[in-house]
Symmetry: C2
Subunit: 353 residues, 2 copies
């Protein structure tokens, strides 16, 4: 157990830890006591049929959804829906390498098992069913790795997902994306302080985390973000100040093993595992009404990759989001970002299924 104040309600707002018990993983490992950090908004109705699920992205938690996406003025409106955000395994709030203690002591730090997107989705389905009695979701919506989980939900549990909105992510990770993610890992691995995953504090790996932040600077935004100095709108007065005042503090606060756990999942996300590698067959299973929502300036989930998958999903639509921030437009910095998301999600939620 490593103390890391970043993974606390102080930084992420209130959340609840829910145990779903023992979780056997696709890669063969076991999480003896799988605790998932969740947050809910709104009220589950008596029929238990007004639920929306939000899985989280790499390095993210439920908090950004509270800050940007959920509220009475948004499509994700707690007055109408019971909205559940479930933090992904290994994100620092749900069971993670640096928090594995007690019954999970055997999987602490470098001993943490490999987790797949499918494991998260299985865990989430169990939590929703056992903890809330939810058998069907009005919508699954997530960004980036949250989109991977959204696709996994729609393919694995087609009867349980009425609508799906994968934003800025793919159903099958691309080789380019794999290589990009590997450079993020390499930034950590190359720090002697990482020590094979058995550091004493994440601060021992600060150089590696800074390197990771610098890689995000190149791929996480768009070339135009830098050229047009969009960061000025975030109250920084130089590119360097933005890097050292925003991106670096963001990543250096995090746990390296947590990031590596999520990265492996991200790299190996692939719904075609359900259909012997046949992506068309896997996506053809989807019965959810699906809006595929790439961001036009995304450098590693480019529109064409998302569009190719969308074309394989029956009755789906491509809804491209226009945002110069690129992939990290997901942070909702540009006011026009959430407007577009709300527009598409409202239309999706108002579509009868």
């Amino acid at each position: 157990m490593i103390e890391n104040a970043y993974y606390s309600p102080e930084f992420h707002g209130e959340y609840e830890l829910v145990s779903i018990g023992r979780l056997e993983l696709e890669e063969g490992g076991i999480i003896p006591d799988c605790q998932l950090a969740i947050t809910t908004w709104g009220t589950l109705n008596a029929a238990k049929d007004n639920a929306i699920l939000i899985p989280t992205w790499y390095s993210g938690t439920h908090q950004i959804w509270r800050d940007v996406y959920v509220g009475p003025q948004h499509a994700l409106n707690p007055a109408q829906y019971f909205i559940v955000a479930i933090n992904q395994i290994g994100n620092g709030l749900s069971i993670s390498p640096h928090t594995a203690t007690g019954p999970n002591a055997a999987i602490a730090m470098a001993n943490f098992p490999r987790v797949r997107i499918g494991d998260d989705v299985v865990a989430q389905e169990r939590l929703l069913r056992q903890h809330f009695g939810i058998e069907r979701l009005q919508l699954v919506v997530g960004g980036s790795m949250g989109a991977q989980q959204t696709y996994e939900w729609a393919v694995r549990f087609p009867d349980k997902v009425l609508r799906a909105a994968p934003i800025a992510g793919t159903a099958q990770n691309t080789p380019h994306d794999y290589l990009f993610t590997e450079t993020l890992n390499e930034a950590i691995w190359s720090d002697p302080g990482w020590n094979g995953g058995n550091y004493r504090s994440h601060t021992e790996v600060i150089t590696g985390l800074q390197r990771q932040a610098r890689l995000w600077a190149v791929m996480g935004f768009s070339t135009e973000f830098w050229k047009q100095e969009i960061w000025r709108g975030m109250d920084f007065d130089s590119k360097e100040a933005f890097l050292t005042g925003f991106l670096e503090p963001y990543f250096t606060a995090m746990d390296p093993n947590a990031l590596l756990c999520m990265a492996w999942k991200w790299q190996h996300g692939d719904v075609s595992r359900h259909t012997n590698g046949d992506l068309a067959a896997a996506l053809g299973r989807i019965t959810a009404r699906t809006f595929v929502m790439p961001i036009n300036e995304d450098m590693f989930f480019p529109v064409r990759d998302c569009q190719a998958e969308q074309a394989l999903i029956p009755g789906s639509e491509l809804r491209v989001i226009d945002d110069l921030l690129g992939h990290l437009g997901l942070f909702g910095v540009a006011p026009t970002f959430i407007q577009q998301v709300d527009h598409h999600l409202s239309e999706l939620l108002n579509t009868p299924v």
Copy 2:
């Protein structure tokens, strides 16, 4: 002096070392005896007005031009032109940190001074004039950092450049490009074997050079290059085999300080230094007939950045090259690449000026 067999005629074909004497640099440093590695094709005519200059790109030498671009079947035809390729300062063949000995001993390794694109162009102009008596060039053509030098030539010596063909590069480096290049540097700096630039052999920095190769994998090609597995056409049977069999051997053969010297130049390339930061004024100086030739899938010299500069060059044209290899399409792997380059260069060379 570090022995590195890569920087030899065995690997790069024949070249000649020409001294242009003492070179005072824009940043204040001095190269006591500036030796430039050059190769020529064809014959300089009596009027000395049939010369074409090729400056080189980051990590590159004249050799790729010999292999791909120059020949009787190409626009760069030695039967008609006297073609001079001049290796840039710090590229391992021309004077470089690891080759600085004798009169240059004071600038060996970590003591090598900062060099700018403008220093290269001044050195090249002197060499052409003093060594060959060439006062005017039919064409300057280069890719990537070679494009930066091409722009510098056209802005600095407008009367000496009749035609210019910057391929896959910019006149003013973009902030995104700066950040990308910084990750390449960081890959080297983060290797303890680099030792502040005073390693005993480039093999001590092999881990850092491998990291650099992996970064090139992400940004040097396009997302479609990986998705469509274009590397299969280069006789590799897996993505990993391509990385370990092509990209890694390519970069691990090189000298780390040489790469860092070139990277600094690349990052700080900016023709507007001639006009107090006014890019339009700088590009407005160009009298050369100019074809700006970005590659459509280039991830760090995107078409729109090149187009924005092209729009500022009087009488210029934008000629976009279609190549799924992205920036490293410059290697000429796709047969359609050189066909397009030849087409545009032939038209440019046949345009009266």
